[in-house]
């Protein structure tokens, strides 16, 4: 299986504060790779670097055949990023927002329509898309943001806590949508605190703490290696 993303010796520091102390991992084509760890472990910093928002202090990042540091513009064409605390333009109608975002990726109006139709199907919001985003509930906003991230069928979708703040039903729907798009060829780099979600979605997992990867593998491999019943126990075992 080919690698979509290869990260080697990634370091990031803010002044004297070291956020990432050298991490290595790769995301393979058509898989969900998850980063799990406590708050401040370096998950979001890693995702932000891969999303071209932050520049690494050291290390190499290859996305397909692009050097992420040298060709961020080309990388942005093929990825999409859903931040943990993301919002949409409140004065825009949902449909207008989707068109606005699709326009950046589409080659022509026909492709833009295809992207938007796909997003409309993901959101299942129907006529509510004709109302302003400012009137949406948190779940509706999160769905439209997820739809925005997946509508272009990116090579790599970077999802930071995709179900953050959602109720059980909405969270389940979001997970199913992610799973469906992975089947259609999108690779996913995911971060979550929710071990249940990680177990449901992820093909492979990396445990991260204090800017270092403690362990990685498939959920089954990790559970067997740490003789644990679930990923929470694996994580606790990794921290020891």
């Amino acid at each position: 299986m080919t690698n979509v993303l290869t990260v080697k010796g990634l370091k990031k520091s803010y002044g004297t504060q070291m956020a990432l102390a050298g991490i290595d991992f790769e995301v393979r084509a058509g898989e969900v790779f998850a980063l799990i760890g406590p708050n401040g472990a370096g998950k979001t910093t890693t995702l932000r670097i891969i999303a071209t928002l932050l520049t690494p202090s050291e290390g190499d990042i290859a996305f397909l055949d692009h050097d992420l540091r040298k060709e961020p513009g080309l990388v942005r064409e093929k990825i999409s990023y859903l931040p943990e605390e993301a919002g949409a333009y409140k004065n825009m109608k949902g449909l207008d927002y989707l068109h606005f975002m699709a326009n950046f990726y589409a080659l022509d109006s026909e492709e833009e329509k295809t992207f938007v139709d796909r997003a409309v199907a993901i959101t299942e919001l129907g006529d509510r898309l004709k109302t302003k985003v400012g009137t949406y509930s948190k779940g509706m906003t999160r769905k439209i943001l997820l739809a925005r991230a997946l509508m272009t069928k990116p090579v790599l979708a970077i999802l930071d806590e995709p179900t953050s703040g959602l109720d059980v039903i909405n969270a389940l729907e979001v997970r199913e949508i992610v799973r469906r798009y992975v089947k259609e060829g999108t690779s996913v780099l995911l971060s979550s605190h929710n071990m249940l979600e990680i177990e449901f979605l992820s093909d492979r997992v990396a445990m991260i703490d204090k800017g270092r990867i403690l362990d990685s593998g498939t959920p089954a491999e990790l559970k067997e290696k740490h003789q644990a019943k679930n990923l929470e126990e694996v994580f606790r075992s990794s921290l020891r």
Partner: protein, 430 residues
């Protein structure tokens, strides 16, 4: 280009809200309303006004005063057979704004060359300047009568002399020279005309700069507050395009807002000035043309270029300040340094000559980019092209440096990590 246009459209739509349109429409209506009201007041003031008079003398001289006032478009309401105190009470109950009391013996005193005194009682029914115009006209009429009477006395005593030559043995004729052109006018008149003609430039600049800057700062701060900035920075569009789209949209909307405000302001000023101001402007315009103190096409282009560069500098600076703002509320605070930078040269240009202030102060003032558009009109009139070109180049350099700096911020982590909190230490977070 398609992506840039897409972003630009979004930025304009974000800025042109119903609140903005309503606010602009309301401003025009308000200015227009005040202008109309002022015009009516002016018309009332220059129209026929009622004055009460108590002529206790009833001599030829006292009648001459009242005739003079009637010819100055005053309606005289004569109060007869009353004492001064009674006349004051009667006039208080009527519409008169002024009571003129001519004491008994007024005419005889004048004949005997003794100082004569008349009394005026102004009824302050409002404190508007236009409302108080009546007493000023009465004073003017009395001054004219004084002249006539004193001329008559001089003529009777010294028939061979011209009273005007006796009263004003030295006559002055004022000329103003600007470069190789000359016109009959006083320097203070010309300075007044130039400053009144140039008055609109700083006001326009202040409005556009403040509006546009506020919009840019708010646009960036709102992206942060609404958590849309991170997503926008990861879409396939150049960071410089994001900056340009925000600046262009804010500049455009700011310009339209300023034009609307200026339209309203013009309507307001037109109301205050009325026909008298138009006539005065037409006369002074002829003198200004004679002195070459007017803008030709090149002059307007230079002035436009200077204003445009100042706006660009303000927008670039606002973009950087917007990055420092944490949210919309802190963005409102961020506009303050920019406002001071515009207001300092504005007030200095109102009260002082920049060429005569001490050198360190002059350097400080000239270092503020917004000073140069304020000076352009004067420098154009005086032919100081070195100062004009220097100012344009300086603003271009400042703009370039600021845009490069803004682009650098947008291309690095600083767009997400730079924050300025007032009252707290500057911090970098991720």
């Amino acid at each position: 280009m398609k992506r840039f246009v897409n972003l630009l459209k979004k930025e304009i739509k974000e800025l042109v809200t119903i609140q903005l349109v309503v606010s602009l429409a309301f401003t025009i209506m308000l200015f227009n309303f005040i202008g109309q009201m002022s015009r009516k007041e002016v018309q009332k003031a220059v129209g026929v006004q009622t004055i009460s008079s108590l002529d206790l003398d009833d001599s030829a001289s006292s009648r001459a005063i009242l005739t003079g006032l009637a010819s100055a478009r005053f309606k005289i309401e004569r109060i007869e057979g009353k004492t001064k105190e009674q006349a004051i009470d009667i006039a208080r109950g009527g519409d008169s704004k002024l009571l003129l009391v001519i004491p008994a013996g007024f005419g005889d005193s004048l004949k005997d060359l003794k100082p004569s005194q008349i009394e005026t009682y102004s009824y302050m029914r409002s404190f508007s300047l236009i409302g108080a115009r009546g007493s000023a006209i009465v004073r003017g009429v009395i001054s004219a009568l004084n002249n006539v009477l004193s001329d008559r006395f001089i003529k009777s005593r010294l028939p061979d002399l011209d009273p005007a030559s006796l009263k004003n043995p030295i006559k002055s004729k004022d000329f103003v020279i600007v470069h190789d052109r000359m016109a009959e006018a006083s320097a203070s008149e010309i300075a007044g005309m130039v400053s009144s003609q140039s008055m609109l430039i700083p006001i326009v600049l202040m409005m556009i700069v403040i509006y546009s800057s506020q919009m840019v700062i708010s646009a960036v701060a709102m992206e942060k507050q609404n958590k849309t900035l991170e997503t926008l920075l990861t879409v396939p569009i150049r960071r410089t395009s994001i900056i340009t789209a925000k600046m262009f949209a804010a500049g455009l909307v700011g310009l339209i807002s300023a034009v609307v405000y200026m339209f309203g302001f013009k309507s307001f000023m037109g109301g205050i000035g009325g026909d008298e101001l138009k006539a005065a402007t037409s006369q002074s315009g002829a003198v200004m043309r004679q002195l070459g103190l007017y803008f030709d096409t090149t002059g307007y282009l230079i002035l436009g270029a200077s204003l445009f560069l100042a706006i660009l500098v303000a927008l670039a600076l606002a973009m950087i300040l917007g990055v420092l703002a944490e949210d919309f509320r802190s963005a409102q605070t961020m506009i303050m340094p920019l406002m001071f930078m515009v207001m300092i040269p504005y007030f200095i240009s109102l009260f002082a000559d920049i060429n005569t202030v001490p050198l360190p102060v002059r350097i400080f003032i000239l270092a503020i980019p917004f000073t140069h558009p304020f000076l352009v009109s004067q420098n154009l009139y005086l032919g100081n092209y070195g100062m004009i070109i220097g100012g344009l180049v300086y603003m271009l350099v400042v703009f370039t440096v600021l845009v490069v700096f803004a682009a650098r911020i947008f291309s690095t982590d600083k767009i997400l990590t730079m924050k300025l909190r007032f009252g707290k230490k500057r911090t970098a977070t991720a």
